[in-house]
Subunit: 398 residues, 2 copies
């Protein structure tokens, strides 16, 4: 172990103790058991289930959004959002390269191409200056259509992501998109409970998408949700997610190519319990983050990523940003953390570097490239906050 690596491992162990710790871990209680059992005994475990309605209503109330559609994954929600905004084969969607594969995959499912825009240091989200430059380079037709002059493709939408729960500069980004007549999709897969000036992440863009995958702050095993203030968008998404079936008691008429993307009742039942416990989860996540912040306060090899002003993060993942001088040690540090039983992760490989998107259009991505060499996500499972009270006092130790 290098001295830098040793220092980082020690600071993590000082925060959460020396027992092994996973990167993610859900908190499932007897309340989740109770609702799931009730759902199974009702026999309505499929996508037609009162628990799906209850989950959607609970999430709508949690977020303060009038329209919520529960889906079988966050990726499904993203694909539906893109389709509803009219993304079609050959189109381009402006998005970032520093994100989970689902963002770009959903674009590819529509036959469209991601057009990568750089991120910023403060939020890891899309950089407003980079978006501005990208938009300014496009050709605007008389009918307002935006065209990439290099590829000839129509630019149809902007997709931004709240990385690790930290909201991006969504108001600035949405204003820029809007000034070119583009609507913005908010990928809030990692940001349930995060806020921007008191508004819930996911409710600010034209359409927001959430994930309830097993690694998220609240889980349904697998699942997602599409959220929008626009009831016409909501109706279209619900129709597409329900196999585009025209309502009738017995006839089967499908008005277009639809999808089998609704969340099953069994998963929604667990989700109902999780959502009711969300405030407690957020408090635990925040406590863990504060403990890590404290432990890394005087670390000379890296900085714990904090909240951007005006925003409230759900602290889904705690992120150590290595000092540029030791970025060459990234793999060693990850290996040493793993050898110490600590489930740490780098950020995802940049989407712009994956073979399937290697030829996708892009602007300058230097901040994304730089961050991808310096990010270390630290164990952030729900159970870890319980270890905080029993840990050694960091001041006494230091």
């Amino acid at each position: 172990m290098t001295k830098e690596s040793q220092d980082i491992v020690t600071r993590v162990q000082r925060t959460i103790g020396e027992s092994p710790a996973a990167l993610h871990e859900p908190d499932l209680s007897e309340y989740e058991v109770e609702l799931a059992v009730d759902c199974i005994r009702s026999s309505f475990i499929s996508t037609v289930s009162p628990y799906v309605n209850r989950f959607e209503a609970t999430l709508a109330a949690t977020l303060g959004s009038p329209n919520v559609l529960a889906t079988n994954s966050g990726t499904s929600a993203l694909q539906l959002a893109l389709l509803v905004l009219g993304v079609r084969p050959g189109d381009e969607v402006l998005c970032t390269a520093l994100s989970f594969a689902a963002s770009a995959n959903a674009i590819a499912y529509c036959g469209a191409t991601p057009h990568f825009v750089d991120v910023e240091d403060e939020t890891f989200g899309m950089c407003p200056d980079a978006l501005k430059a990208s938009l300014a380079s496009m050709h605007v037709s008389q009918d307002g259509t935006l065209t990439n002059p290099t590829t000839g493709a129509t630019v149809r939408a902007v997709l931004v992501v709240h990385i690790f729960g930290q909201p991006c500069q969504i108001d600035a980004l949405q204003a820029l998109a809007g000034s070119y007549g583009l609507l913005l999709i908010e990928d809030a897969a990692e940001a349930l409970g995060s806020q921007v000036d008191g508004r819930s992440a996911g409710t600010i863009g034209a359409i927001g998408c959430l994930s309830f995958n097993g690694n998220k702050i609240a889980t349904t095993g697998a699942g997602g949700a599409l959220v929008t203030n626009n009831s016409s968008f909501a109706e279209q998404a619900r129709h597409l997610a329900s196999l585009a079936k025209a309502p009738h008691l017995w006839h089967y008429r499908h008005t277009e190519v639809g999808f089998n993307y609704r969340m099953p009742g069994l998963n929604a039942a667990v989700g109902c319990a999780q959502l009711e416990r969300l405030d407690a989860f957020l408090a635990q996540k925040r406590a863990l983050h504060l403990a890590y912040s404290e432990s890394f306060q005087d670390c000379e090899y890296g900085k714990l990523h904090g909240e951007a002003s005006g925003t409230s993060s759900n602290f889904w993942l705690n992120t150590l940003v290595l000092d540029g001088s030791i970025s060459a040690q990234l793999d060693t540090i990850l290996q040493d953390l793993h050898n110490s039983g600590l489930g740490a992760r780098p950020v995802w490989q940049l989407l712009s570097n994956l073979p399937q998107f290697a030829r996708a259009p892009r602007g300058d991505l230097s901040t994304a490239v730089d961050l991808s060499r310096r990010i270390v996500n630290l164990p952030s499972g729900m159970g870890l906050s319980a270890r905080l009270s029993t840990r050694n006092d960091p001041l006494a130790d230091s």
Copy 2:
């Protein structure tokens, strides 16, 4: 009510009694509750769960297939099967119009087009003579590629369906496909437990797909499975269904556009219990079918659809095929059955008539058109067999 309609309603009620009856109804016991509770308490409810492995092993043993991949829907399994067999944008896939929308949707998701081939009366599945005629009309290149001379598209695969649990003539169909170098996908979504000469439906084609949707004989809420004897196909499907992620303890490398299509552990837990109870379900379904057969034995307005020789149906849905002379009454009969509390259904609108497939290539579809005007599916829920012992004796009543 017309006298024909009255007669049909009376025969259904004579079979299952006069209480309301749904078309489908799952049978969920305390065993399903027990496994789901165990899964939630283990905290492994996501797609990474021992219950997913157990579900796959149980299904493999049930079917006698070496490779099973659990998916989040039958539609997902179909899409993966098509991709693994090399179906790409612009291709055509030979399939039938008398099927649920998922069959053709999965083809559309690949950017390919369904090419409709007619069905036969005996099984409702693809007609070998129609497939033979369709294949004979194709152009065969020197490299063996099959091209539709009318559209210029490559014909890449054949997709056959076991409708309502009744196996189609899969051996004849597969031999025909094979003689043109085409592989066959077996959509066994409705046919878990059905057999052809002692082999399980789903295990006979190059790839088979099953569904565990809430309306199926065994359910996981939502879910499906891909089954194949070809371990390379299985590996490719598993990779695609797991976001095409290259295995590594912490790196995220996705080798191609993948999908988030794995079944979550929570759903798999319920499925494990369902599969263990499958033999009992099959016996109940058969008892219900025999009771309907008896009740409709001397009906002059329609005939209960039975098993084709050499096959064993799971009798997922019981089907009354109306006599051609009263097919104009189809909607009246469905309305009267519904008014009597009996959840009956016609067959799905022919896929060839849906707007999204209206321009898809096709052969003569006269048998499909004829059947679509005469099929009435009768209430076939799992709980109905319990009503059989208490029903009036049909002979005493007649």
